[in-house]
Amino acid sequence: MDDSTPLPARKTWPALLGLAGLLVLVFCASLLLGSARIPVVQILRILTGQPAANQNWTYIILNFRLVRSLTALLAGAALAWAGLQMQTLFRNPLADPFILGINSGASFGVALVVLGSGLAGASFLAGLGVLGDLSLAVAASLGAALALGIIMLVGRRVRSNTTLLILGLMFGYATSALVSLLIYFSAPERIQAYTLWSYGSFSGVTWSQMRVMLPVILLGLLVLLALPNVLNVLLLGEDYAKTMGLNANRARVFILLSASLLAGTVTAFCGPIGFLGVAVPHLARNLLHTADHKVLIPAVGLMGAIAAVLADIFAQLPGAQFVLPINVVTSLFGAPFVLWIILRQRKGGTTFSV
């Protein structure tokens, strides 16, 4: 294998088309497989708008499986895109979409609603009682937006990426301390509700939430689509980027905006979903042997979507009545797989730094 050289265009397109085909296949499978046992013929009838033998089946397919599969697809792609941007911006293969505290912000919002409402009497939370009426998605969105605001504010002023990284980490520590404080003073049932949220899930999203989730993710993608050249230059280092005439500060603001919108929305609606955002960009670089973001952006999106939908199929344990938390599936089954791919393909060479 000739490492480190970008795939010629004639090889890139078949690879991307193959991934797209695989995504369609996996998406269909996720509609067919689920806990409720519904015959394939009936599912096809439902999807083509014909009446099914059982009204409940129509309901389940349209209001549970379709929206869940779509959520998984969008969330997987969004997290992978956000992870790719963070890894490139910080030139660090361990960076994940949440490295700047987006997750912590969302967690804090949810913790305030789930855990704080029982504490209406506690003085430091007086007045926050209104939050108790918000749905988790709204709370998480507000929390993520708060984190996003802080990141953008700091991102415009701070000159060095390292400083930004440290600030993000500190923000994360501070918010998780507040969350711990809330947990410490909460009733066990509420702690359980919070813990369940932190497991992550694609199943909680309803169609009315999808109407918010989809446009925001598309907005994040739109910003990202203007950035492939900028990302390619950044990969060579900030100093090099400057000599190329790139306004590093402005580029950073746009990257932060796109990544935060993508990751923040997913966390708001699905909870903190780990692993995908870190692993998928690596997988894409290794499978396509390129660091060119013009190729990586579509590839990472497709692979992220495939991975998330696949993970969701496993989490639903088709045929069984039970479900597993999504984070368990992604990390437990995904980690060995990614390790295998990387160890098999990487023989000393790295495609990360071109």
Binding site: S35, A36, N63, G118, S201, C270
Partner: protein
Amino acid sequence: MKKIFLIGCILMIVILAACEPLQTPTEVISDATAGPIYVPATDLPAEVHIDYAQNFTLEYQDGYKILTVTQPWPGATQSYTYFLVPEGVQPPANPGSAQVISTPIDSIVTMSTTYFTFLEDIGQLDTIKAVDDATYVYNETIRSWADSGQIKVVGGGSSGNEVDLEALLELQPDLIMTSASGIADMDVHPRLLEAGLPVVINADYLETTPLGRAEWGKFIAAFYNEEARASQIFDEMAARYQALKTLTEGVQPKVTAFVNSDYQGTWYMPGKESYPAILLQDAGADYLWQDLEGSSALPLSTEVVFERARNADFWLNVGFATDLASLQAMDERYADFKAFQNGQVYNFNARASENGGLDYYESGVARPDVVLADLIEIFYPELQPDHALYYYQQLR
């Protein structure tokens, strides 16, 4: 500590043995044919039987009582035994690993809210000197005492907060009653025992039947030598429970019911031998997950729940919601349950404190007859002309 404890026990035995000739009234009269042995001189109550509870036994021997908690926590491999020795009775010569506690106790520290009603029933609520946490307590007396500082808040137990060992050592209660998880780092009882404090594990929550759980009132009362009184209260309650249960026998057609709510696609559904499932069955409802084995709740996929329960008549125990609008705000799909559309959604949060402490979890444990009456009122209102919902409320 154990050594000191042992030496103490031996000393006590020696002293008591030396005193024996003077204390003729405490002399043990054994009658092999009658089985249990009584000490006539002390005012020990008549022997009390345990009829429903599976997780503890109460035996009488040589004037003292032997309380054994079969399973102190889920999956425990060994039982815990307590010798309850009434004043003036000779303690057992060889208690082994068992703890010896002299009765009646005058002060107690409670680390679960489920004990309050049992203590109130035998008139001993004021022996509570400290609780684990007062924030989510429903009992108004306890809350006012905690506010005024009459009882201390010491953490530990089900509060999950760090236990205030110093406060407990200063308090020197006759007994600390707590639940245990079996995870050494999380449980307080090993540390309390190490500090020489008398701790008893109460595993009432592992009891799956409502009557079994309520029978733990006798367990608590035994430490006050009041188990006869507790037994009388329990028997009357159990009789009411059984009468209510008979009321629904043969009811046709049976209503269908399901419980709990979704959490991000996961729906914890209790097994058929669980506490809520048994209550539903005793109330004459057809619990829709009768095929789920065991007594714990299992994480079902929400689509499976919708498939089976969409046309169910009743939906109960829906979490934090107090009205239908807030329930629908949590997940719009809830509104598609037939029970939701017909307004047949009920929750046991009718009696809640300001902070959300629920009386259902407190007095409900001691009064399963009232819980059952509520359920029958919900399912078959014509069977009880004058019962008004007590723990449950209809969501509107």
